[in-house]
């Protein structure tokens, strides 16, 4: 038996091992043979005879291969187990995304930390001033939060635009629907003329922009939100303080 034949027989049952592991087994056995042959060659042994003698001393290659494979038997199950965990996680995430639970939960959390400020940003031209606010009111089981007011120009008229969001009081809860339709923005004279809106949302949170015309000297606008059995009105100060517009 040659060295090549010996090593091939050892490796034959090791199909479950990775290429690196098989290479490591091969290398280790070759190194062993090298260490064992060297002193024999120094003593004058003929190379082929020395190799033959060393291979005999190694034992039955098929048996070594089988025993080696047995040491890695649990490895297949280990990888299978890991693959099953990953696959389960992927399926669960896909399912949650599919029915919107995960995205709703994310929206509910995100508006609490950083509500979107780009809603209807293109509607207002020549923006004079913008101010971030944090005005909150409970509406049923939800929280209405006014978080930004800007003053600029829309269709040739000085206009105030207010951004608001609504989310359930409980994190990850479901928010009541249609904040857009239930909300109006009035100027100081009670006029809601020029109202328009843009928004975004899911079952986790709703965010809308509403605007109304303002006159020089106006200091606030009023956000009105209708809910079952009640109407909430929140005074929203215009940026820059009293009398600047």
């Amino acid at each position: 038996m040659t060295r090549r034949e010996f090593l091939d027989q050892v490796l034959a049952p090791l199909g479950r091992l990775t290429a690196e592991e098989r290479e490591a087994v091969l290398r280790e056995l070759e190194e062993h043979l090298e260490d064992r042959m060297e002193p024999m060659l120094e003593r004058g042994w003929e190379a082929a005879r020395a190799e033959e003698r060393c291979l005999e001393a190694m034992g039955n290659p098929a048996e070594i291969g089988r025993e080696m494979a047995r040491q890695y038997r649990g490895k297949g199950w280990l990888w299978l187990g890991r693959a099953a965990v990953v696959l389960t996680a992927v399926v669960c995430i896909q399912a949650l995304l599919g029915i919107g639970l995960l995205s709703n939960a994310w929206d509910s959390l995100a508006v609490r930390i950083s509500p979107p400020t780009t809603i209807a940003a293109d509607k207002l031209k020549n923006v004079e001033a913008t101010e971030d606010l944090d005005i909150r009111a409970e509406v049923g089981n939800d929280v209405l939060r006014i978080y930004r007011v800007s003053v600029g120009e829309k269709e040739g008229r000085r206009t105030a635009m207010v951004l608001a969001c609504m989310y359930d009081r409980l994190p990850f809860g479901i928010v009541a629907g249609d904040l857009n339709a239930r909300s109006r923005l009035f100027n100081q004279r009670g006029e809601a003329t020029g109202n328009g809106s843009g928004g975004t949302g899911s079952y986790g949170a709703a965010c809308v922009a509403r605007w109304t015309s303002v006159e020089p000297g106006d200091t606030y606008v009023v956000w009105e939100c209708r809910a079952i059995g009640e109407t909430i009105r929140l005074e929203v100060p215009l940026p820059g303080g009293e009398g600047t517009l």
Binding site: E28, H32, D35, A57, M58, I64, Q71, Y72
Partner: protein, 112 residues
């Protein structure tokens, strides 16, 4: 009697590594030397044993240059391996003591 949890070769391999880190061929030489060539095992059978110990976390392997100047795969006994060695040594001594007692005519019983 409690069934021995570890084959003798595994115990011997752990015991050798208890003294210092070694590579496979070095272990074969050392085993033959210490046992006065009584344990003249088939050399290739050591490697499945070492890989098994590695898979179980009893030893760790790393590559290092040997005194011959060639790089070799060394095995190092881990803390888990050292604990296993202590336990197996105790188990082996109980076993060997019992065999010895039987060979001497039974534990305290005089031969007829």
């Amino acid at each position: 009697m409690k069934k021995k949890a570890m084959e003798h070769t595994r115990l011997l391999a752990l015991s050798l590594l208890g003294g210092e880190d070694m590579y496979g061929y070095q272990m074969i030489i050392e085993l033959a030397r210490r046992s006065n060539h009584v344990f003249d095992m088939k050399e290739g059978t050591l490697y499945p044993v070492l890989h098994g110990l590695e898979q179980e976390g009893f030893v760790e392997a790393y590559r290092k240059e040997a005194p011959t100047g060639r790089e070799r795969k060394y095995y190092h006994l881990t803390r888990k391996g050292r604990e296993a060695l202590r336990e197996e040594e105790r188990s082996w001594k109980r076993y060997a003591g019992a065999v010895d007692a039987v060979l001497r005519g039974g534990a305290g019983v005089e031969p007829v």
